[in-house]
Symmetry: C2
Subunit: 288 residues, 2 copies
């Protein structure tokens, strides 16, 4: 299989696992609101990273599926809450009305809470030592020093003068944390050693930074119909973006440098990381 | 120590542990918003139940503290989100302005998300087998078949004709789930057997049902200044309460019957459950 075929195979596995989640005992309305956002497409990048990292380190892909689902649930929850009127106030996501537009704010908040809780429920149901360590990694990444750190800085600093150090910190939290955790958690599920985890951390952080820079560039220059969301909002709302800090050309170069760092980190490992390297390189193609 | 002294001793331990949580890496504003609600008093009933159950089953109280903190964080998160304008729209809680009144809606949502995430982070940091099983219990209780099931039914059915079966289901989710989990998780941390867990489940569910009935009665008849919150709101907003289903006198009797069931369940166990029994009985004193 080449990279694209492998990516599609992983993606299909993640999609099937997500669609099969029964959310047992949840009221119908809550299930509906959670599934609306969870099953609305998306690249499943985070879920695929869990599977790919686990497989690269010699683990079983099947056993990593609960964690692939969990990280996608955490991602979906973060988008639902992020889109709320009191946060980013977005009405469109992947070409569809956002969760609170369809289900109301109260249900959207509960749907987000439900997806976050269920992520932990699904991970905790896998009762073995590697799984516990992986759950802990996910918890830190989703938590107050990870994704929520980025989200908080993002909304509290909106409209202030962009400063490279701060913007980097926001992106490390908001984006990189939830791209790093799938890699290190996937490695952990396979029982990888410390060097592998360190390399996974460097890879994930740099992939995340590049990913966010590319996203910011696309918000400036992309095609709204193709992206399925309102564009130009970052500038309009004074969001702290990397291109706003360093200019478009430098931002483009920085993204490439991050991807290079990510790839180099993996090259030191004695395992087959070809897929993960390709994954990083493909991030750049979106703006090239 | 008598019951009250023991309760105070547990409560003090929980308070100290909560106040000492560093929330490392969290932005100051997020820490402030989380601590505002987490450290605003309250009976710490859920945290005390974890410690008491763990100790009753022969476990180490110290090792149960992360779980006592976790359940209090989950409880605090649920109150913050529940008070939001798009949910119950409450402006007063324990005599203080609610989180979103002080920090704004966006920060209140993030503070709730932060407390929920941090609960799992703190539990997951205890890496042993009993802790994993206890984390799983907490996840289910906080999740879509537990607390969030109750919350969803509560907001989607508001204003409809109260029906005993539905109201019981709401209370089992909204209130009993997060009073049962501390008991079964506390027992689990001590490595308790299946019979003990089953008894803990019956105890917790009945304690929870009684607790909610008593709360509903106090909302009808209590003293606003003493309670530190707006009263009479349940009736005003057409909330589905037990007294509204069966009448005040019957509700009072039902609460007593639940407490009796809770106490009887524990009496079958070959461990010292005197404190937990007293805890159940004390719930009734609030309306007697």
């Amino acid at each position: 299989m080449n990279f694209k075929q492998q990516l599609n195979a992983y993606k299909t596995q993640v999609e099937h696992a997500l669609a099969a989640l029964p959310f047992e005992g949840a009221p119908d309305k809550l299930k509906e609101a959670m599934r609306y956002s969870l099953l609305s497409g998306g690249k499943r990048l985070r879920g695929c990273l869990v599977l790919a990292a686990c497989e690269a380190a010699g683990g079983n892909v099947q056993s990593a599926l609960p964690f692939a689902c969990a990280v996608e649930m955490i991602h979906a929850y973060s988008l639902i809450h992020d889109d709320l009127p009191s946060m980013d106030n977005d009405t469109l996501r992947r070409g569809k009305p956002t969760n609170h537009i369809v289900f109301g704010e109260g249900m959207a908040i509960l749907a987000g809470d439900g997806l976050l809780s269920h992520a932990f429920e699904v991970m905790a149901a896998v009762q073995n030592e590697n799984a516990f360590a992986a759950l802990s990694i996910m918890a830190r990444a989703a938590g107050v020093s990870g994704m929520l750190c980025g989200q908080t800085l993002d909304i509290t600093l909106e409209g202030t003068q962009p400063d490279a150090h701060t913007v980097r910190k926001i992106h490390l939290g908001k984006t990189a944390a939830l791209l790093t955790a799938p890699v290190t958690a996937g490695f952990t599920l396979a029982g990888a050693d410390k060097d592998t985890l360190t390399a996974g951390q460097i890879y994930g952080e740099n992939l995340g930074l590049a990913f966010q820079i590319v996203d910011d560039l696309l918000d400036l220059e992309g095609d709204a119909a193709l992206m399925g969301k309102t564009l130009g909002k970052d500038v309009q709302e004074g969001k702290l973006t990397w291109p706003a800090c360093v200019g478009v050309e430098q931002a483009r170069q920085d993204a490439a440098a991050c991807i290079d760092k990510a790839v180099q980190a993996l090259k030191t490992l004695p395992i087959n990381t070809a897929f993960l390297q390709e994954m990083a390189l493909s991030t750049l193609h979106r703006v090239q």
